[in-house]
Structures are given as structure tokens and as C-alpha cells.
Amino acid sequence: MTLLTTVFAAIISTVLWYKRAPDNSMRLGTLSLIYWGASLMWLGDAIFEYAELQAEYFTPAAGDMLNDFYLGLSVVALGLIAWLVALLLQDPRRVLKTTLLKKT
């Protein structure tokens, strides 16, 4: 469920990046790469888990699924926070610089 949640986040962020391309001022490419990286890593983990559990892998207990979905949502939120921090640090649209240096 965590893998599935992250894959959906990766697809949505990639569609948003594609829609805005070639404008990269929001660094949406970075966001999609963060989620694709995590998705691929969880895919690697899932392959090993499938090799161990076989068909049982696809029938998780409802409680485990809910916990994994909760984890997936938390992971998506953390990815968004990481992207936001990177965006504000790079400040490609110079919004922070202009706002902070503006005389009141």
C-alpha cells in the first residue's frame, strides 16, 4: 500500500511537471524524482517480499493495509516538505529574496 501510494504521488507530480514544462520555476521535476526514487526502492523491497510470501503478498490483513496506507500518506507529506524546503532554499522565482529585502 505504501508503494502504491508513492507511485500515485509520482504519477500525479510527473503529470503536473509535464503540464508546466518547460517552465521549471516550481521545481516540479525534483518532486517527481523524489517520489520515483522512493517508488523504485519500494518496488525492490516488494520483489523480495513477493519472492518470500508468493500469493499471500497480495492479500494483506485489513489492519496492515490501513497502517501501510497511513504510512504512505505520511511519506507523501514528507516528500512534499522536502521539496518545499528545496524550493525555498533555491528560490528560483526570487520571491523570498524580494519579500525579505522589501522595505516596510
Partner: protein, 135 residues
């Protein structure tokens, strides 16, 4: 247990390589001849930029995976930070997991990046072909 440490180690190495590539590229750009033909080649995506795709995937994935390990209580904020490092039996299992799952994760991400670079290189080559034919 600690499989995310393998992609993290790769991320550190690739980041260092990316910075050295960037330095070399900026040094070569300053020496470059700015004739119209050369300008076209400078519009290509630099190798350091392509390495940036890999570092974003590796750092992002490692961060999110590290969070998952904290969630499951496998990483703690106190020494030895990894619960599996507390006793030798768990340490052996952890090292085995790192050498199998961890290496596979790093390989999958690197292979996906290699695919992206190949596609991007092919697209750049195709885009450069009409201008070469005009010459």
C-alpha cells in the same frame, strides 16, 4: 532493517561526482569558443544535470525510506541508531538485507536513471541531426 543505507551511500558518492563534473564543465565553458555552431552544442543537457536526476532520486528515496524505518522502530534517535545493531544475530540479518535488498534498490534506481540518460541522449542526437544536414 537498514537497506536504505546502501542508496544513501551511493547518493553521497554521486553528489561528490556531480560537483566535480559541474566544476569541470564550468571551467570548460569559460574556455569555449562562442561561435554559432558551438552554441548549439551548449544547449544540450550537461552530464552534471543528468547526474542531478540520479541524486534527486537517491536522496529523495533514501529520505522517505529512512522515515519508513523510523515508523517501524528500526531506526532510533539514540546510539546505536539501528535497533538491529544492538545484538550480533540481528546485525548479521541486517547486513544480509543490506547486501540483497539494499543493493537491489540502488541498482533499480541507477538502471532507471541510465534509461533516462539513454533516451535523453537519443533525443539530443535526433534534434542535432537536421542542423548537421543543413551544414
Amino acid at each position: 532493517m537498514a537497506c536504505f543505507l546502501v542508496p544513501t551511500a551511493e547518493a553521497i558518492v554521486v553528489t561528490a561526482v556531480k560537483h566535480s563534473c559541474k566544476k569541470r564543465e564550468s571551467a570548460s565553458v569559460s574556455k569555449m569558443d562562442i561561435s554559432p555552431g558551438v552554441l548549439q552544442s551548449s544547449q544540450r543537457i550537461s552530464f552534471s544535470q543528468k547526474l542531478g536526476w540520479l541524486t534527486n532520486m537517491l536522496w529523495g528515496g533514501s529520505l522517505l525510506l529512512a522515515f519508513e524505518h523510523v515508523w517501524h522502530g528500526e531506526v532510533t534517535p539514540w546510539f546505536p541508531f539501528l535497533t538491529a545493531a544492538a545484538n550480533p544475530e540481528d546485525t548479521v540479518a541486517m547486513l544480509h538485507e543490506m547486501s540483497t535488498i539494499g543493493v537491489s534498490m540502488a541498482l533499480l534506481v541507477t538502471l532507471a536513471w541510465a534509461g533516462m540518460v539513454l533516451v535523453s541522449n537519443a533525443m539530443e542526437k535526433r534534434a542535432a541531426e537536421p542542423s548537421a544536414a543543413v551544414k
